[in-house]
C-alpha cells in the first residue's frame, strides 16, 4: 500500500529536530505541520515575512493581513515576528533556516530539482524555491513517485528547467524514502511504504539507486 499524502507528511516530519527553524513549501509540505513529533518544538518560517507560524484560524477569526506563502489564512503565536520580504530572504539565503520541505516535478539522482515550469505548458514561477534550495541547510522533497501520466519523477537527469543543482538531501514519495548524497551524487533507498516491494520501486524509478 503506497503512503497517503498524510502518511508522507508524517514520515517527513521525522526529519525534524528540536529547536529547528523550518520552511514549509506549498502543497504536501504544508501538511507536515500537522505531524510534528511530541516533545519537539520547531519554529515555522513563512517566506512572505513571518517567523513563528501558528495553525489555521478558527472559523470567523481569519485575518486577510495574516497569510502564509501559500496565501492560506494562518495565526500568530507568542514567539511570532513579522518582517519584510528582503529580511525574510536574508534569513533564507544567509543560511539561518535549518530545513525546508518542498514539492517537485522532477528530482535527479545527482540532487538536481525542477519545480517551477513546464516550458510552453505551465508557468508557475519559482517564487522562493530557488532561494530555499540555495540557502537552507537541509532540503527534503515530498512528492508523488510518478506524475499524473505515470512517469517516474525521480530521474537520471532532469528534463525540465532546474530550480537548483545538487541541492536535495532526502526524497519522500508515496512509495519510499531515498537518501540523496548531494556532494557525491547518488540515491540510496532507506525505507519503503508497507507492502511496497523493491521490484516495484525498481520498475517505477527512472534513476539508479542503491537498495
Amino acid at each position: 500500500m503506497p503512503w497517503t499524502r498524510e502518511q508522507m507528511a508524517a514520515r517527513a516530519a521525522r526529519e525534524l529536530h528540536d529547536g529547528f527553524y523550518v520552511n514549509l513549501g506549498v502543497g504536501i509540505p504544508t501538511l507536515v505541520a500537522n505531524y510534528i513529533p511530541d516533545g519537539i518544538e520547531v519554529t515555522l518560517q513563512s517566506e512572505n515575512g513571518m517567523l513563528g507560524m501558528g495553525p489555521f484560524p478558527f472559523e470567523g477569526d481569519e485575518d486577510p493581513d495574516l497569510i502564509n506563502a501559500g496565501k492560506q489564512t494562518i495565526t500568530q503565536l507568542p514567539n511570532t515576528s513579522f518582517f519584510s520580504s528582503a529580511d525574510s530572504f536574508a534569513m533564507i539565503r544567509g543560511g539561518h533556516i535549518d530545513l525546508t520541505f518542498l514539492g517537485a516535478m522532477e528530482v535527479a539522482q545527482n540532487g538536481d530539482i525542477a519545480n517551477w515550469t513546464i516550458p510552453g505548458k505551465l508557468l508557475k514561477g519559482m517564487g522562493g524555491a530557488m532561494d530555499l534550495v540555495a540557502g537552507v541547510k537541509r532540503v527534503v522533497v515530498l512528492m508523488e513517485h510518478a506524475n499524473k501520466a505515470g512517469v517516474s519523477k525521480i530521474v537520471r537527469q532532469c528534463t525540465l528547467p532546474l530550480t537548483g543543482r545538487a541541492c536535495v538531501d532526502l526524497v519522500v514519495t508515496d512509495l519510499c524514502v531515498f537518501d540523496l548524497d548531494r556532494h557525491n551524487g547518488g540515491l540510496t533507498l532507506i525505507e519503503m511504504a508497507p507492502g511496497v516491494t523493491l521490484d516495484e520501486i525498481r520498475a517505477k524509478t527512472a534513476a539508479d539507486f542503491k537498495p
Binding site: 512572505n48 519584510s84 528582503a86 539565503r93 508557468l123 532561494d131 540555495a134 537548483g164
Partner: protein, 239 residues
Amino acid sequence: MANKIYPNAEAALAGVIADGITVMSGGFGLSGNPETLIAALKASGVRNLTVISNNCGADGFGLWALLDTGQITKMISSYVGENKLFEQLFLDGKLELELDPQGTLAERIRAGGAGIPAFYTKTGVGTVVAEGKPHETFDGEIYIRETWLKADLAIIKAWKADTAGNLIYRKTARNFNPVMATAGRVTIAEVEQIVEAGELDADAIHTPGVYVDRIILSTVNEKLIEKRTVRPRAAQETS
C-alpha cells in the same frame, strides 16, 4: 515642510504617471496591495507600463485589473501561480516577463533603494536565471551577479502613516512594501489611518518618512482572502 498628505489617489498620481514608466507595487498574493492606487492607475488609462511586483494579483483582483486592460507591457515578478490571465498572456507572447527568484527580487529592490548597483548570490546558479550573468567564486563557492532595481514610481500599502511620512505595516501585509518604498523615484503610500507626527512610537516605525513622498487614505478597504483555511470551532474546546 512639504505637505505629504494628498486628498485622493488621482491627486497623488498627478504629475508622476506617464506612458512607459516603471512602477513597483507592493503586496504578496492579495495581502498588502495598494488597491486604491491600482484602481486609480487603471482609471488614468496610462499604458505601456513595466510593473515590478512579486505576483500580479489574482483572477479579478489587484494588479490583475491592469493586465486585463492591457496597460502592462512587461512584468518583473517571481510568481505567476494560479493567475490564469498572467500565464496565458505570457504563453501567447502578449506579455514580456522577467522571472526572478523571490529573494533575488527583494534584494535587487533593496539594492536599488540603498544605492548598491550589484551584488552576488548563490540563488539561481546552474539555472536559466544565471544565463548571461557574471559568475564569481567566493570561499570556494560559485555566485552570480545580480543588479539593482529602481522604479519611476513605487505604490505601497501600509497600515498607519503619520504626517511626516513614517509608516507602520500590519502582520504579513508588510512583505515587499518597505523595500519598494525605498526604490521609487516617487513613492506613494496608501494607508488605513493617518495620524499627526509624534503619535506613532518612533521606535516602532518600519519605514522612515524620508522614503515616502505622498500619502493617501485607502478608499478600497475591503480586504480579500485568496485561500480561506480554518479549523472547526469544536476543536477549540478540546484543545
